[in-house]
Symmetry: C2
């Protein structure tokens, strides 16, 4: 039985926990539910009817640092869903690092640890012979890393472009279609729950830049950090500029790009009939491949779709474990 823990028991953590209770027959028991304050432990694994609505107020709650859970050898697989700090990587960075050091497989949706310490963490995972999966960190549910790992192996990625932030894409789409000024479109996005708590990370392109860093390190074998990305956000984009673009059959999108070893995020003119030109809160990513040419993936960039990415990573780890156990 693979013992799985979740650190971060918010909306996403609860939804994931609910799905994972169905995995018992597949050999995965959800034994730990943790947040930064402490954890609940169920040696046989939580079931759908024993899943708590909240962990701190639950009777079995043990106040503790999640690192102790790892140190005590209570889990084989840790899912890290901590809030993202793109500068320190914490608290996720410590949890991911300690888990890998202890030989625990890690699945994470937190960009912070990867932006701050990609090479350190992937090298650590490699030397410990464990998996570090982060499909959920870029493009929501679009299976970018899985696709590259499994499906593009006979080819070579030359460059990457993407619309990687749903909030700014929603805002720019509303400006394009309705002629709204940026501040009104932002208010609308906030009312719809599409803008994060601090919209500046989105508007100023930092969130997109983090995703560009992860893509560059993971898929183009570079060793880049946030400060290596030339970043310009959308705060200077006006409705007039979008209107002028529209008259030429184009629009303005916030495009992250990795080309010739250079990383950038900036508002760019994109043709309206270009595959990357998606609207609303959709994300899109385009690989330029040596043989295949351009391959574009489009999907929901956030919310429920992130769950799909986490489950895909967990399935991959289960398959790896089955393969090594079964001898093939």
């Amino acid at each position: 039985m693979i013992r799985c823990g979740i650190v971060g028991y918010g909306f996403l953590g609860k939804r994931l926990a609910s799905y994972l209770t169905r995995y018992k027959a597949r050999g995965l028991a959800l034994t730990i539910l943790a947040n930064s304050k402490g954890y609940l432990y169920s040696p046989t694994g939580f079931d759908s009817d024993s899943l708590p609505a909240d962990i701190i107020s639950h009777s079995g709650f043990r106040a503790s640092n999640p690192v102790e859970v790892i140190g005590r050898g209570l889990v084989d697989l840790l899912v890290v869903l901590t809030p993202t700090n793109v500068y320190s990587g914490e608290p996720g960075l410590t949890y991911v690092r300690e888990a890998l050091k202890s030989g625990v497989d890690v699945v994470t949706a937190d960009k912070g640890p990867l932006v701050v310490a990609f090479k350190e963490l992937t090298s650590l995972a490699g030397s410990m012979g464990v998996s570090l999966c982060y499909e959920a960190t870029v493009g929501g549910g679009i299976p970018i890393f899985s696709l590259a790992r499994h499906s593009l192996r006979g080819d070579r990625i030359l460059s990457i472009k993407g619309i990687l932030n749903g909030t700014t894409n929603y805002i720019l789409s509303r400006m394009h279609f309705e002629g709204l000024p940026l501040d009104l479109a932002l208010q609308e996005a906030q009312m719809m729950g599409l803008a994060e708590r601090d919209p500046s990370l989105d508007l100023e392109g930092i969130d997109s830049a983090c995703k560009v860093v992860i893509l560059a390190n993971a898929l183009l074998d570079l060793n880049k950090r946030l400060e290596d990305v030339k970043v310009k956000g959308i705060t200077q984009v006006t409705s007039d500029a979008i209107l002028a673009a529209k008259e030429l059959g184009m629009t303005i999108k916030l495009v992250g790009s990795i080309e010739g070893g250079k990383l950038s995020v900036a508002p760019r003119l994109v043709r309206l009939n270009h595959p990357l030109c998606v609207h609303g809160s959709l994300n899109a990513i385009q690989f330029k491949l040596e043989i295949l040419g351009d391959l574009t993936l489009i999907g929901r960039g956030a919310g429920e779709s992130t769950l799909s990415a986490l489950l895909s990573d967990i399935e991959w780890i289960l398959a790896q474990k089955e393969a090594s156990k079964g001898g093939r």
Copy 2:
């Protein structure tokens, strides 16, 4: 050493052969080059400078049916690139079937065998413990089957829609953007080498229908044949109809669809800003997934990109063999 044979030594076969000569260090030797008339055999594998421009006029040419090559145990992996016959499946069907029966892994770009005998062939592969890979049959280089196999495992495909034929999409795009009538756009496509020898299979939706059959059987575990698809081609689509759609922010596309167990191909109105709405000879496929929602892939549907799909399949088979050999 894995001994690989190619049946079908036309443009695609030659390009693939050229790539595969680089795989010797990876443990794959290209030992057989065949067409319907006979074969060339190199026990140690062809090298880039020993690859013939043509096999029939080559000194070592042996007149023979490719089935004999399989029967004589000269290959471990057969790549079938025969011309497609969607009604009989031949000659590819016989080669694929005989290879699988002999315990030979198969990679094919020929839709015919799969449209005619999908369940028979996949069951045969399963019972013989060998692989049957057909990434190149649908969507050119877009890694549709690989993506579904590896990257969507925690999710469930509910329905599929796609623009699966580059020729008709090119024609409809020219009608949309230039206002050309269908016959002129077709002539243009033929001059550009985008229309196949017999354009009726494309124009009447048969090629798209074949791809819909393969998608339905492979990804939705149905057991459908060509006659189960309700097919309408683009021959009745007029520039006027496209113009009328355009005024409403839409266009007409030939859409293949699998929904609620029903398979169809027909010209459909598609919003210009819908992710599926790609132009020129591009292909697009959209999965509706239980958790992830809509996921769209866009890429080149034919030509060189097919090579990428073949290499991806071959890489997958190599990885499987390495895994079973290495004990994990």
